[in-house]
């Protein structure tokens, strides 16, 4: 399993300088990927735009959306943006897509909420066709287009994943909830006669050192306030010590995760350095 780090693109207070320095330092290691989240009605940066910027100031690291709320976007534009980031990064984009969980994002984008699943399916049908279309351009650097992941938890998620995508991205939680979802993904993959195995991505949140834990908890309670009491559960899962991170990594590796992303909850560069020290060991 590889371990990557999130860019603080949905952490209020993250400025231009932090995002640029964060991306540069993450590229220096020991992280395998640099990932972003997506929220419309929140003080946050647009994920693909951020990755376009990251693409030109990094050399090595894989750039991933975990996830982009696909139905909010025009499909042709999404395809073009993703292809553009793939070209700018020299073929380093992983595009994770899902329907998201917030109605207000849909209302703000003027997109119908009720049909979001159907719309995601239609988008998935079309994406690869755009990437293959010579007249559409740019052609992604990765021969089959950006690595494509699907997020979510319903039975439909796994049916979509196996029909259209290269793998699955899990939304967070203890390793055993990931393990159950991973088993579903593998069952679907095997049943459909897809070669090899699905790529399995997962994520967690961290806050290291000093009073970072408190700031991190407050951020998660706010970011997930729309889930009601569940926000408390998510906040309780925040990784606040090197020991907790080591066990989390071990648990996900044992459950068969390929790429784990650890997202910051405090917009400060020293968080990246602290995490690098833990991962580096």
């Amino acid at each position: 399993m590889h371990v990557g780090v999130g860019l603080p693109n949905t952490t209020p207070g993250a400025d231009r300088e932090l995002l640029i320095n964060w991306a540069r330092q993450a590229d220096e290691g020991p992280f395998s990927n640099l990932s972003v989240l997506d929220r419309l009605v929140y003080d946050s940066y647009e994920p693909l735009t951020v990755l376009a910027a990251a693409a030109v100031i990094t050399q090595r690291i894989r750039l991933a959306t975990t996830i982009v709320i696909s139905p909010l976007r025009n499909t042709a534009l999404l395809a073009k943006e993703a292809a553009t980031v793939d070209v700018l990064s020299g073929g380093r984009l992983t595009l994770g897509l899902a329907v998201g969980a917030r109605r207000d994002d849909y209302d703000a984008a003027g997109v119908e909420y009720a049909s979001r699943g159907k719309r995601l399916t239609e988008q998935l049908e079309a994406l690869r066709a755009y990437w293959e279309d010579e007249s559409f351009g740019p052609r992604p650097i990765q021969p089959n287009g950006p690595e494509l992941l699907i997020g979510g938890g319903s039975d439909h998620t796994f049916a979509r994943m196996v029909r259209y995508a290269d793998g699955y991205v899990h939304g967070g939680g203890p390793p055993k909830t990931f393990a159950r979802a991973a088993e579903k993904a593998r069952s679907a993959w095997l049943d459909a006669g897809r070669p090899g195995q699905p790529r399995l991505w997962a994520m967690g949140y961290f806050a290291l050192g000093g009073d970072a834990a408190e700031t991190g908890h407050a951020y998660l309670r706010d970011y997930y306030a729309f889930t009601g009491p569940f926000a408390e559960k998510i906040a309780a899962g925040l990784l606040t010590t090197p020991q907790a991170i080591a066990q989390f990594i071990r648990g996900y590796a044992d459950a068969g995760c390929d790429e784990l992303v650890l997202f910051p909850t405090v917009p400060a560069l020293e968080q990246l350095q602290r995490l690098a020290e833990v991962i580096g060991h």
């Binding site: 049908e125 690869r128 066709a129 293959e132 089959n144 287009g145 039975d155 439909h156 796994f158 049916a159 196996v162 029909r163 259209y164 995508a165 290269d166 159950r180 088993e183 579903k184 993904a185 593998r186 069952s187 679907a188 095997l190 049943d191 459909a192 006669g193 897809r194 070669p195 090899g196 195995q197 009601g228 009491p229 569940f230 408390e232 559960k233």
Partner: protein
């Protein structure tokens, strides 16, 4: 806090006393409809784990409970004329009346106010106390018919599911020394009993049967005394002269209660009001008292009522839902139990024990090695086929391997074990010709321990391929290429080799599946055939609806491929009737819209697949088995379903089919199977028991424990496994 608890059952009383104990300043009132001493029902059951949680919650009532309960550690199964005992299942039984007395006494001691005989029909008019709004917290522990739930149905959004069976709750003077299942058939049908002891002199005795059996037996007209007389006569051998006791006993259907939410402002549903789970898997009292503990704990952590109630539901709901899911499996098992009556007693018992998916082969081996080894010995040599001994006495095995490592015979083919391994497709063949990669993969599986190796599906014609990289059996040079593979496996391993033959139908002419399913080729497409001219996806090529000449050609291709497979040394042949390919396309009403003799009724939809089967059976050697991979359900509303699959399997069996591989889904892109390891197993169980044909099942089985559980229970005869080590 001012707390009102509606309902003086175990949930309400236990929560009341736990909350009062935590903070005596709380002002708590319990309102109960019945008099203090009255109770309906007989005994309740707790697992040892539940008892441990009682000890932590309130040691005093725990001691009183454990002073009076009856502990047992065995389950007895009375079936045909045998009694089979499975040990290692520790449970405690207790009289419901005694339990309520203990809880009431403790409530009084702690200062919880109890009001009895207060029949409330309207929440706005609570007699003896003020209205619900005057309370900080209202706990609706008012049972399965909860008035609170009905009053706020628009908030709780209850979902009530009525079970198919009829059951009645008796007491008995018979002293059972174990949890007891009795299965007995008479001229009216099958009856089953769930019985358990709960004090020194009395036991609970629940009788259950299908509704039509209940009517045939006249029990719908019998009344209380008549029902007792009928059941005492029916179960006279087991009761041995003991009586059945009634306490307002009525025949009812089990109601599974679920609610969208359990809370509304400062009101919370507790116990049966919130959720029920079929009695065959444990008692509602256990769930109710665990609810009470969880809720009381939340008030130790949170002062704010709505926060505590939120936390309570978050914490408790996943556990309750998991138990309800297992209970539904168990309930369905008893509702459809007739189909398992062909199983011999040991296998019947194993099937019963593993019904809800919570206990498997390894668990049972740990609980009762004697039972487990008896199952192993039975599996290795069922009494119906005793080995010949001098003197003619039946011997049977003294020791035996686990079910997985038993041989299996199909016609003249003997497989050394029940394990079927198959490679994940690579789509790397060139014009159907298997290459070195195919050979190496199959060798690995054969030498890795398979009883049967199945190749990836092979096309019977170039236009029957899914992708240009499919293997095939249609060119003369294919015979030698395959023979090289089968010869090596036969020479170097004990494995046999099977070839699945397929025609892709409307799913043909697509790209290799490395980037997804059913993506048409960019160039070099070939024309497609199907039952009807419907494309698989919006972007798929429109297939031609097959005419008679097409059908003849496809039958001819398959028969020729079968002859070639024989020459190539294959031991078993399988025809693909699944996953939306050509033949599955004929079977499903979603994809077969023909108005000729090949469409419409199931008989018509089966006509062409059956013609093709017969054409192959006619040329495939008589001594070699012919299997069919059959979609048992489309997992789409209005599609081919489990009942049609049984008819198809029976018909195929009558035409010389030896084995059904159970598949499901993929008939259309909308198909949405509940993917998880073992998701095909219930479908295999269904077909095997209803159609009486051998089955093979996969569904991402990665552990030998899963395979042994399936085989020992008779849910399949062979298992397609995906061993964990294969991915290393």
């Amino acid at each position: 806090m001012n707390v009102l608890i509606l309902g003086g059952g175990p949930a309400g009383l236990y929560f009341g006393l736990l909350l009062k104990k935590a903070d005596p300043a709380h002002n708590i009132t319990v309102i109960e409809r019945n008099p203090a001493g009255a109770t309906y029902g007989w005994g309740v059951v707790f697992s040892d784990r539940t008892l441990t949680s009682f000890r932590e919650a309130d040691p005093k009532t725990y001691r009183q409970i454990t002073d009076t309960f009856v502990l047992w550690e065995a389950i007895d199964v009375y079936y045909r004329d045998e009694i089979i005992r499975i040990g290692g299942n520790v449970f405690a039984g207790l009289s419901r009346r005694v339990l309520l007395n203990i809880l009431q006494e403790r409530c009084r001691e702690l200062g919880v106010r109890l009001i009895f005989e207060a029949d409330i029909t309207d929440l706005a008019q609570l007699p003896g106390v003020a209205g619900a709004d005057d309370f900080d917290l209202v706990v609706a522990a008012d049972g399965v018919n909860s008035l609170t739930r009905k009053t706020y149905a628009h908030i709780f959004k209850p979902d009530l599911d009525i079970g198919k069976s009829k059951f009645i709750w008796f007491g008995t003077t018979k002293i059972f020394d174990a949890f007891t299942f009795i299965f007995r058939e008479n001229e009216h049908g099958l009856f089953q009993v769930h019985a358990y002891p709960f004090d020194g002199t009395t036991g609970t005795f629940i009788v259950e049967c299908a509704e039509e059996v209940w009517r045939r037996a006249g029990l719908d007209q019998a009344g209380e005394a008549g029902s007792i007389a009928y059941c005492e006569k029916l179960f006279a051998p087991e009761l041995g002269g003991a009586r059945l006791l009634s306490n307002r006993s009525l025949w009812v259907n089990f109601v599974t209660v679920k609610n969208k939410t359990w809370r509304h402002g400062h009101i919370v549903l507790l116990g049966d009001a919130a959720h029920t789970a079929h009695f065959s898997i444990g008692s509602g009292t256990k769930l109710a008292m665990e609810d009470a503990i969880a809720l009381a704990n939340m008030f130790e952590q949170h002062r704010e009522v709505t926060v505590a109630l939120n936390e309570y539901e978050l914490e408790r709901r996943p556990r309750v839902e998991a138990l309800q899911a297992a209970a539904l499996e168990s309930q369905t098992y008893f509702e459809t139990i007739r189909r398992t009556l062909d199983l011999e007693p040991l296998q019947f018992t194993f099937h019963l024990m593993s019904r809800s998916g919570r206990l498997g082969y390894n668990n049972l081996r740990q609980r009762d090695p004697h039972f487990s080894e008896a199952v192993d010995r039975w599996f290795a040599s069922p009494p119906s086929t005793p080995p010949p001994l001098r003197g003619g006495k039946g011997g049977g095995r003294l020791i035996a391997p686990s079910p997985l490592f038993n041989p299996y015979k199909l016609r003249e083919l003997t497989l050394v074990n029940r394990l079927v391994l198959t490679p994940t497709p690579g789509y790397s063949a060139s014009d159907g010709l298997p290459n070195e990669t195919h050979a190496a993969q199959l060798d690995r599986l054969a030498l890795g321990g398979a009883g049967l190796v199945l190749t990836e599906p092979a096309a019977a014609s170039p236009t029957g391929r899914i992708t240009p990289g499919d293997v095939g059996m249609y060119r003369p040079e294919h015979i030698a290429a395959w023979k090289r593979i089968t010869d090596f496996i036969h020479a170097n391993s004990t494995a046999k080799v099977g070839l699945p033959l397929n025609h892709a139908g409307r799913r043909g002419s697509t790209r290799p599946r490395s980037q997804g399913l059913d993506r048409p080729l960019r160039t070099g497409n070939w024309p497609l055939l199907a039952a009807s001219a419907l494309p698989y996806t919006r972007h798929s090529q429109i297939p031609k609806a097959m005419d008679h000449a097409d059908m003849e050609q496809v039958c001819h291709d398959f028969a020729q491929a079968a002859r070639m497979a024989g020459e190539a040394g294959f031991d078993l042949l399988q025809l693909h009737f699944g996953h939306g390919y050509l033949l599955a396309g004929f079977l499903s009403p979603l994809t077969n819209r023909r108005d000729d003799e090949y469409g419409g009724s199931l008989e018509n939809r089966l006509r062409f697949p059956l013609e093709l089967f017969a054409a192959v059976r006619a040329v495939w050697p008589e001594d070699k088995p012919l299997a069919v991979a059959l979609n048992v359900t489309d997992f789409v509303a209005g599609g081919f379903d489990q009942d049609e699959a049984v008819t198809v399997a029976q018909t195929l069996r009558a035409h010389g089919c030896d084995l059904i591989e159970v598949l499901a889904g993929q008939t259309t892109p909308e198909s949405n199977p509940p993917y998880q390891p073992g998701f095909l197993t219930p479908l295999s169980d269904w077909v095997r028991s209803k159609a009486g044909i051998a089955t093979m099942v996969g569904g991402n089985l990665t552990l030998t424990d899963e395979v042994n559980t399936i085989l020992a229970a008779g849910r399949a005869d062979l298992c397609v496994m995906h061993p964990l080590a294969l991915d290393d």
